[in-house]
């Protein structure tokens, strides 16, 4: 396999599937993962930052806990593989440079508030005049227009308004959010899919597309079957952490943490039978009561009595074993059981390491090599790779302006007027 700790074009490494695609990424937290998805498949992604650098550079946690624009771990991770140019988009000369970039771009990813790009005369209408087949992907909290279009938002607020937050947390607690900006990341992921759909269609018909991604709407997609439960059965699903969802389905404590078990509740599966056999063959005779046919009935599994009975039998069994033992023993018996891993466990996971999932990323400022998640998909002929380290603020301004035809005198003039940095 190819390793990603050497940048540039490894002589034996084939090009990425998206080589030749030119992407401009001027987004913030809600869009930078979208740009990363393009960069890691070989697109040339230019990160457009304000003169003082992307706001994401102030997001923690920080490398070595050093609060510094070049040490933000979210910035480093989400922008590896991109080149950085600093442009003031509110400056007339900066806007000219931007238009020159747009003229050569296939995709523009932006996350300004609705109306901001148009107020700079850089809205879709104007940009598509400059580049008729441009794909402009706009990511905003609630969409480009509508009653909430100008509402303030955060990841937590988007999770709330998109309904997903109502499913998280314990019955006796406030709703609790999924960790790690999942609303913003959902928007990035759907934006990437939408942009690729448009890119495939643009190649066909040579036409541009404006993509309007609503973060709230992306969050709604995480509601599983809750919408249909309300639509078809009239019931509103509630949060249920801390209790078994059904008997045999939920979190169980063990020696060194917890495991998640899904023995019950999957229709037409043998998981229940396999679990009962596991218990009985491990010397838990009491588990034989679980062989009664009533344990095949989901309505029974949902009762307090069923959950309590199962917990009395499986609880002590789990508490005397480690999560690793439960995981491998259970899986060898075809039971969906998994350890509840910490980040440390994930980094040490044998399957991920066998696949070479984690890769090394150079941090330019400190010279350190950082271990980061690697390919989320393995494309056999066009391997995923991080082609270059995360850029320093404006690291490629001069290189990129030269590509646009600005000579060094012109660049100096633009720096002097404050259009670029």
């Amino acid at each position: 396999m190819f390793r990603n700790n050497e940048y540039g074009n490894h002589p034996d490494m084939p090009a990425g599937a998206l080589r030749g695609v030119k992407v401009l990424d001027m987004s913030g937290l809600a869009g930078q993962y979208c740009g990363k998805m393009f960069a890691d498949l070989g697109a040339d992604v230019i990160l457009i930052e304000p003169l003082r650098g992307s706001k994401v550079r102030s997001e923690g946690p920080f490398l070595d806990e050093r609060v510094h624009p070049e040490y933000s771990l979210p910035f480093i991770y989400f922008n590896a593989g991109k080149r950085s140019v600093c442009i003031d988009l509110d400056h007339a000369d900066g806007q000219e440079v931007f238009l020159d970039l747009v003229a050569k771009a296939d995709v523009l990813i932006e996350s300004e508030k609705p109306g901001v790009m148009a107020s700079r005369a850089l809205g879709y209408e104007e940009l598509s005049k400059r580049k008729p087949d441009l794909i402009m992907t706009s990511i905003t909290p609630f969409g480009q227009s509508g009653p909430y279009a100008q509402y303030e938002c955060s990841d937590l607020v988007a999770l709330a308004m998109g309904g997903f937050l109502s499913l998280g947390g314990y019955p006796d607690s406030q709703p609790i959010a999924a960790y790690g900006n999942q609303a913003y990341l959902a928007a990035s992921q759907f934006a990437a899919v939408a942009s690729m759909i448009a890119l495939l269609s643009a190649a066909d018909e040579c036409r541009g597309t404006h993509i309007d991604v609503s973060i709230q709407e992306c969050v709604v997609m995480a509601m599983e079957n809750a919408i249909q439960f309300y639509d078809l059965e009239g019931t509103v699903r509630k949060r249920d952490a801390g209790v078994q969802r059904l008997a045999g389905m939920g979190v169980f404590k063990c020696v060194d943490g917890e495991v998640y078990l899904m023995a019950g509740g999957i229709s037409s599966s043998r998981f229940w039978e396999n679990t009962v056999n596991w218990l009985v063959e491990s010397g838990i005779d009491a588990a034989n009561v679980l062989r009664d046919s009533k344990w095949q009935n989901q309505d029974f599994l949902a009762t307090v009595e069923a959950k309590a009975t199962f917990a009395e039998i499986f609880g002590p069994f789990a508490r005397s074993r480690t999560k690793d033992t439960l995981y491998h023993e259970g899986q060898s018996r075809r039971i969906p059981i998994c350890p509840i891993n910490t980040t440390k466990d994930v980094l040490e996971n044998r399957q991920l390491n066998h696949r070479g999932f984690f890769v090394e990323l150079l941090h330019q400022e400190s010279g350190k090599s950082l271990t980061v998640p690697g390919a989320p998909y393995q494309l056999a002929k066009t391997p995923w790779r991080i082609a270059r380290p995360s850029p320093k603020t404006g690291q490629h301004t001069s290189e990129i302006l030269a590509e646009l035809g600005y000579d060094s005198a012109a660049q100096r003039a633009l720096i002097k007027t404050g259009a670029i940095a």
Binding site: L73, G146, Y151, G168, Q228, N341, T343, L347, L352, Q378
Partner: protein
Amino acid sequence: MKKLPLTGIRVADFTWIGAGSFTTKLLADFGAEVIKIESIERLDPLRGSRPYKDGIPGINRSGYFSDRNSSKQSIRLNLKHSKGQALARRLIETSDVVANNFTPGIMEKFGLGYDDVIKFKSNIIYLSMSMQGSKGPDHDYLGFGFTIGALTGLQALSGLPDREPAGTGTNFPDHIPNPCHAAFATLAALKYRRETGCGQYIDVAQTEPTIALLGPAMLDYSANGNVIHRQGNRDSSATPHGVYPCDGDDRWIAISVMDNDAWSALVDVLGRPDSLAKNVYRTAKGRQQHWEDIDKAIGAQSRQRSAEELMQALQHRGVAAGAVRDAQDVMRSDEQLSYRKHWVPLQHPEMGEAIYNAPPFRLSNGSATIETPRVPAPLLGQHTDEVCRNIFELTDDEIAQLTAEGVLK
């Protein structure tokens, strides 16, 4: 924009349950011809999962199944029968993409593994989405969204610090990380094939997209040695940042205060009670030190207000605030989702009118916007005859013969 953008792309769809079905739905809703291979002998478990229309069980009545399978066709094909496998090969010959989310080895058992397929369809794009990838010590382990959430670290990171890990309360990786990544990779491979003529094998391990999203947390451990522990709704860059009770039964509001202006607006909107109008709270540092007192004081005020009214009052003053919507709220009372026509009613042959999610983005050419989905989920085997005639070019007699032999069940 009448013609959908992925028109002309055919997918032989062997996926089932959550992540796989949603991947191919993303393609189907935008015009790909997705033909789902099903069998009464090996029913998609989602067809047997609640909720059902009117609460009445039936293989064509599950809302969970329908929403994940809009815009697709369904054929009955018994893959345990050699003639069923032969027809599957014929379908693949005419397809651009093969998709499956079985554990490794199942497609091979049917003679439909990647190595089998490239022998008769050399430029196929072959998407495999097993739980942990096609090779490695745990490659044949099985799981669902909940267990994947546990394995990837997401569950341990979500919840209250002193309670058991809460996770997301859903099979989250099935709904967003895995389908979005798999669809993106497939579309990228399609673009590459259009330019080079080359197909390829795509291996998605359903743990890896979610871990990729947790990059900064993974880095905090790999680079700083810091194992992040769950901390409820707190955020290191904003205080207050939480979910507060409101008037009514299980009603809540999420509030994020990003700066001092937002803080002073929040205090105003909550009526400037002494518990909040303290000088020490006027700086981010002061608020961070006293976050617990502040959360209690906000809760004491917010519980007297309706979530909707308080959200509007705060938004009017520029504070990021949102009522915690439940399933009924997002469907019935959210003005923005209704403005965006997120909820699409489609007439299903057995369920009657049922609600589908529109994709959470709109594609337009500046004037016209694509509206989708347009076609509801298929009945089990609804398109068997049609596909037999049009793609397999079988006569009515041949179809009857195959039916009698149990190939099309």
